[in-house]
């Protein structure tokens, strides 16, 4: 991945960064983590005029469907062009076949404005050039449909990096602007987007745009006057590409928990010269309310020992929140991929000496879980029931991705989701 240096100017709202020399355990082995295709599950709900066409195998189709739990949408706005032996025999044919499938799809779904061709492990391995295919198809289908491409393959991406690649594919087509504006980067639930918009409005910060917004055809603009505020920690490539178009990153912790949310808005306030009194007037009420709501979960979580297995790259902000605002002890914070530039403002907030791990050897990691006997383990769905049966309380990590957890009003929801397994264990006597 290309490393474009991004000045992450840390703001007043968060403490000065400690030297980033936390030891990280890097592991290679079986990764019990989804691939980037899974991001389609939430991206297609957010981008209401987009269709995601995976060019892959039956495995890809089965994965997206299993991760989504078959949903009841009449026709989901995602699908798979399943490669067959005929496609593998000759690439020229594969391109023709792809054009045929896309034509069929566009005819069937005339309301689609943006079509993402999503690369997969098999399409990468046979070197099917989807970028070229997207250009070719765009030339034919524009202005009705714009065709873009990105890779969600497991050989190149882990789970949430699929969103990063999807957003990255949008960056070159974002309109240019010189105007001063704030751009929030990372997919958040609509209810969160609305809450954030109201808060920015109250702070007098604006115009504010979101990437992604609710329509892929209605894109935010970007340019030298754009300040970026990052809602998700996994969009590193997108952020670097936006920076390359002149945008400036406002370094801040992620808006997870009351503290993170205050620091996040605080970074925007500092950059936009919002007066302290106004900032306090707008943020203090919700911050105090969030802190109050956390109290009832604190009694369940404080002092409890937490082990996070790698999943969404949200592990570090979530661990920071559970440690600092709910008093949990961190045994190990696993993350599938550690992009230091993206978590520069988070690392100093972790307790000194915390065990960070990147990548995974699931067998060895489970050995460590069993040895450490955590009070709560945050892990994927494939591991949760087996760990429960071994006597460990678990929280499925995917719920933390599919539930609104950002912002003040959701801080207690996130705490509740983590406290629930413990509360439930206390309830059941059977």
């Amino acid at each position: 991945m290309n490393q474009v240096a991004v000045p992450l100017a840390l703001q007043r709202a968060c403490p000065a960064p400690a030297p980033l020399q936390l030891p990280v355990l890097r592991e290679r082995g079986q990764h019990e983590v989804f691939c980037g295709l899974t991001g389609i599950v939430w991206l297609h709900r957010k981008l209401q005029d987009a269709f995601f066409l995976v060019v892959g195998s039956r495995t890809c189709a089965h994965l997206v469907q299993s991760a989504a739990g078959v949903m009841i949408f009449a026709e989901p706005r995602f699908g798979t062009a399943i490669l067959t032996e005929r496609d593998l025999a000759g690439l020229a044919d594969a391109n023709e076949e792809l054009d045929r499938v896309v034509t069929q799809l566009v005819a069937r779904r005339p309301e689609i404005r943006t079509l993402f061709l999503v690369g997969s492990c098999p399409s990468e391995v046979i070197k099917l050039d989807l970028a070229k295919a997207a250009e070719r198809l765009s030339a034919r289908l524009l202005p009705a449909v714009r065709v873009l491409s990105y890779s969600g393959s497991g050989i190149e991406t882990t789970f949430t990096q699929g969103e990063d690649n999807a957003l990255l594919s949008l960056v070159p087509i974002l309109p240019a602007t010189e105007a001063r504006q704030l751009l929030v980067v990372g997919c958040v639930a609509d209810v969160i987007e609305d809450q954030f918009r109201r808060t920015f409005e109250a702070l007098g910060i604006g115009p504010v745009q979101f990437l992604p917004g609710r329509r892929a055809a209605n894109l935010p603009s970007v340019g030298p006057g754009t300040d970026l505020l990052l809602a998700q920690p996994f969009n590193g490539a997108t952020v670097r590409a936006l920076a390359a178009r002149g945008a400036r990153v406002l370094g801040a912790p992620y808006p997870i928990g009351a503290e993170g949310t205050s620091a996040w808005f605080g970074a925007a306030c500092a950059a936009w010269g919002v007066a302290d009194e106004r900032r306090t007037a707008v943020l203090d009420g919700p911050a105090r309310r969030a802190a109050r709501s956390l109290q009832r979960h604190r009694e369940w979580l404080a002092g409890k020992r937490l082990f996070l297995l790698p999943d969404s790259q949200l592990e570090i902000p979530i661990a920071r929140f559970l440690h600092r605002e709910l008093g949990m002890e961190l045994i190990e914070v696993g993350t599938p991929y550690l992009d230091r530039t993206m978590i520069e403002a988070e690392l100093p907030l972790l307790p000194p000496g915390v065990a960070l791990s990147e990548g995974q050897d699931v067998e060895r990691q489970l050995d460590r879980v069993r040895a450490a006997r955590p009070d709560l383990t945050i892990c994927g769905l494939g591991l949760a029931n087996p760990l429960e049966a071994d006597g460990f309380a678990t929280k499925w990590s995917i719920e933390l991705v599919f539930t609104p957890i950002h912002g003040y009003e959701q801080a207690a929801d996130l705490a509740e989701v983590c406290a629930r397994p413990l509360r439930r264990r206390a309830l059941l006597t059977v």
């Binding site: 082995g29 079986q30 990764h31 019990e32 983590v33 989804f34 691939c35 980037g36 295709l37 899974t38 195998s57 039956r58 495995t59 189709a61 089965h62 994965l63 469907q65 299993s66 739990g69 078959v70 009841i72 009449a74 026709e75 989901p76 995602f78 699908g79 798979t80 062009a81 399943i82 490669l83 067959t84 496609d87 593998l88 045929r100 499938v101 069929q104 799809l105 492990c121 098999p122 391995v125 497991g154 050989i155 190149e156 609509d190 609305d194 919700p286 309310r289 969030a290 109050r292 709501s293 009832r296 067998e363 994927g380 769905l381 494939g382 591991l383 029931n385 087996p386 009003e409 207690a412």
Partner: protein
Amino acid sequence: MQLTLWTYEGPPHVGAMRVAASMRDVHLVLHAPQGDTYADLLFTMIERYDHRPPVSYTTFQARDLGGETAALAKRSIAEAYARFQPSLLLVGESCTAELLQDQPGTLGMTLGLPVPVVGLEMSAFSKKENWGASETLYQMVRAVLSDRACVPTPPLRRTPLVNILGPTALGFRCRDDIVEVDRLLAQLGIEVNAVVPLGATVDDLRRLPDASFNIDLYPEVSRPTAQWLERAFGMPYTRTVPIGTSATREFVAEVAQLAGVDPRPVLAGEHPGTAGLASSQSRAPWYARSVDSTYLTGKRVFIFGDATHALAAARIATETMGFEVVGLGTYSRERARDVREAAAALGISALVSDDYLEVEQAVAAAGPELVLGTQMERHIAKRMGIPCAVISTPIHVQDVPARYSPAMGFEGANVLFDSWVQPLMMGLEEHLLQMFRGDFEFHDAAPASHLAATGRPASDGRQPSDAPGDAPGDTPAAADTATGWTPEGERELRKIPFFVRAKARRNTERFAAERGLAAITVETLYEAKAHFGR
């Protein structure tokens, strides 16, 4: 290239996983990239396994593609053996690994492990899940029995021995079907030698030829193995699958004949064509003949599933329930011919397809009153407001019930009767609906009164409107102004998931009332939320 939205079957290596996960001492190493571990959750979540499926993944990455992948596969196989110590190691590939041509099966065999290593060729770009399961079972049985190519006829025994082939993890009701079939065999004085693969060990595979014949319980999975055992060891296999009362009786007759035993311990109590509880061990025939069931007559039913369960359902629908089968189809192309024949006998043409949209169109065109299908058809039926029961894989968590609920044998016939009738409107209720079409509770779109509301927008807890046909929609009614919701507050409330919205509404209104707030704003909503928590 085939455009697919939902798939009925996973890739073939998921079939291999189902076989490995069924066995007690087998481990499967899959040469696969990151992401393919998703399949673990099918077992741990849908079937609520309390252990991980015995599968390891090599997790190769783009940077390994230069030539490191074969070494990685070899290392993973060695590590999996060292850690899990299985009695037999299966080595397979997911689709992408097939393209690399690392031959992990061959690599595994060169490691000199002290247990059989079976390499699987899964043809991921042409085959599917059930084929993968049947191929894996066949290859594994062949490998274990390779040194037993021809055995003398088993010694004469007082009780005949039989194998049950085909039940697997993530199959439809396999767990309970085994118990039910076992019970039938016990009534006939036949002993079960081995059940394969569900719950089996590699030793059980070795003992397969000790039995005198095989029960081919799930032909989608076990037919190639049954055929090979017949060729190699002269073991015949059954052709009847005991789903439904009639098929169960025929199965008993077939098994008794193959075992050379008297079928009367079971069949003496079976009186086809008669009424009353004494007509069968199963209550289903009498329930179907009871006057309460007359309303079932001629109900239009659409059937879709794997071939075994679709064929069985078509027979039960006509012979036991008195339904009219208006659609019959399968995604099992391997057995398309059987399904086409059955459909032709019913005067319809079979739908052989794994295209979910084609099935949906066929359901819409047939206009059935009941759909018997897979979890896909459950969604189709739900959207169309048609009652539905699931009869076949693919399944979801609700199709793996805690209670005993076989599909096979006499108890299975009871279970099917109940589960097909339950979604329907009861007889008299249906009549009243016909009589009072304009009735606000009994209007056409109203669901059966014993069922939770379906096919209507999820209620958010407000009182339903009194006017017929006025569905509880999203427009705030006059009543809401009385409770003080501002338009913004109301809009915000609607962003809360419907299943907790009613509670949020109640709590917020209580909160506002207790504080004497006249208007419920967005702020009130969140104040209340913070106050009550969850």
